[in-house]
Amino acid sequence: MSSPQNVYTVSQITAYVKSLFAEDLLLGDVWLSGEVSGFTQASSGHCYFTLKDANAVLRAVIWRTQANRMALPRNGDQVIAHGSISVYEAGGQYQLYVDRLEAAGVGRLWLEFERLKARLEAEGLFDPARKRIIPPRPVRLGVATSATAAALHDILRTLAARFPLVEVILAATPVQGADAPPGIVAAIQALNRWSAGREPLDALILARGGGSIEELWAFNDERVARAIVASAVPVITGVGHETDFTIADFAADLRAPTPTGAATLATPDRRELSATVRALAASAQALMTARLAASRSDVDVLAYRLGRQAPTLRIARDRQRVDDLGRRGALATAVRLRSARERLESHRLRLAALDPTAVLSRGYAIVTMPDGAVVSSTAQVSPGDALTVRVADGTFGAVAQTIDDGR
């Protein structure tokens, strides 16, 4: 029992109680189920009600900003609410400050969803590092969805418009109801078996059109999540509408908001691809043109260099030297002339040895008699004579026919 020395004010004690609530982890983040009663909404927009069960009641408040974002309950509704419990000093009451409210059935599903998501995430199933890249130009895609629902039609129509050369393998499965999770698992596994054993799949699309949380529930099934993670073929999900996120979406390699979105993410647009192909062809053309231009100038350079070495040029130089020498004295000149002539002769022979190939490659031929004499006149040849014709890369035999000596 406290002594009169420790006399607290009401405010102090209330603040103390409030701090006890504030320190409590559970009370700061709690889910509750109960029945709504005494619900009112004040002109301020704030809502006040009580949550009750057989043995207890709890005052609850929804602030205007939260209230605007939710469907408000009615008296008698069984709900699941989320929020924090704290103390309202002026009223001397503890209250639940509500930030989320669901109808009981749906609320329970949401709780399950949150729990499973947290558990699988902790296991690492949603780890971004394990997600695989989808090939940009798939050869073959798998599709796991209902054979009769609109989602399949939407996917096929999108694929046909964007990238009709892709091949599609459909594994049909129920996508809602109790049969759906095992059906989806079987479909994913069948597509994987086909991919491994018969024809490789670049990716598979797991899809279902829009629906309520109950209708999409199969995609929050743990078995489906594990089948997606175990799939050797990368998985793209397209389930429900834009704002729906299922466990399957977190487990997938890539999530699209809808079935059509999944087909779009899986494929390139053929018009863009066609433009790229044309651009590649154009760049080949440009490269070739540049290459040809470069090679022509290479030939020019070579020809110039050869020209500077050519025997004809050296002969011209030597001729000039001979002329120079001629001006200088008879004996010396005679000696020099002789050696110059010898040099000329050796150059001429070298030229004779070198030039014929160049001449021959231009289409000229050397014709010889059987005894090897070079034919340079029609006088050497009679009709019926066997001749040898030498061209740039070899020889062949010929027989002289009519002779025309131009007279």
């Binding site: 090939p135 130009r137 798939p138 050869v139 054979a147 096929l156 694929l159 046909a160 009709p164 050369l165 892709v166 091949e167 599609v168 393998i169 459909l170 594994a171 049909a172 069948a190 597509l191 078996r193 086909w194 054993g197 018969r198 490789p200 053929r270 691809l273 066609s274 192909v277 044309r278 590649l280 062809a281 760049s283 080949a284 053309q285 490269l287 070739m288 290459r291 040809l292 090679s295």
Partner: protein
Amino acid sequence: MSDEKSFEYLYRELEDTIRKLESGDLPLAESLALFEQGTKLAEQCNALLDNAELRVRQLTARPDGGLDVQPIEG
């Protein structure tokens, strides 16, 4: 259908051919051959893109547990 003639194969060959042409140090004859090959590949790619029709087949389970496919309407 052999994956050899697939669009993906042809497209990659085309990219490869351009890369080789870009690398520069090639004899003229080889450049010309690559250029012809590149042009042909581009034509084949665009023909596939323009003329393709979506081919859809459905997996079916055989009694022995094996898998088959059957064509279905797109």
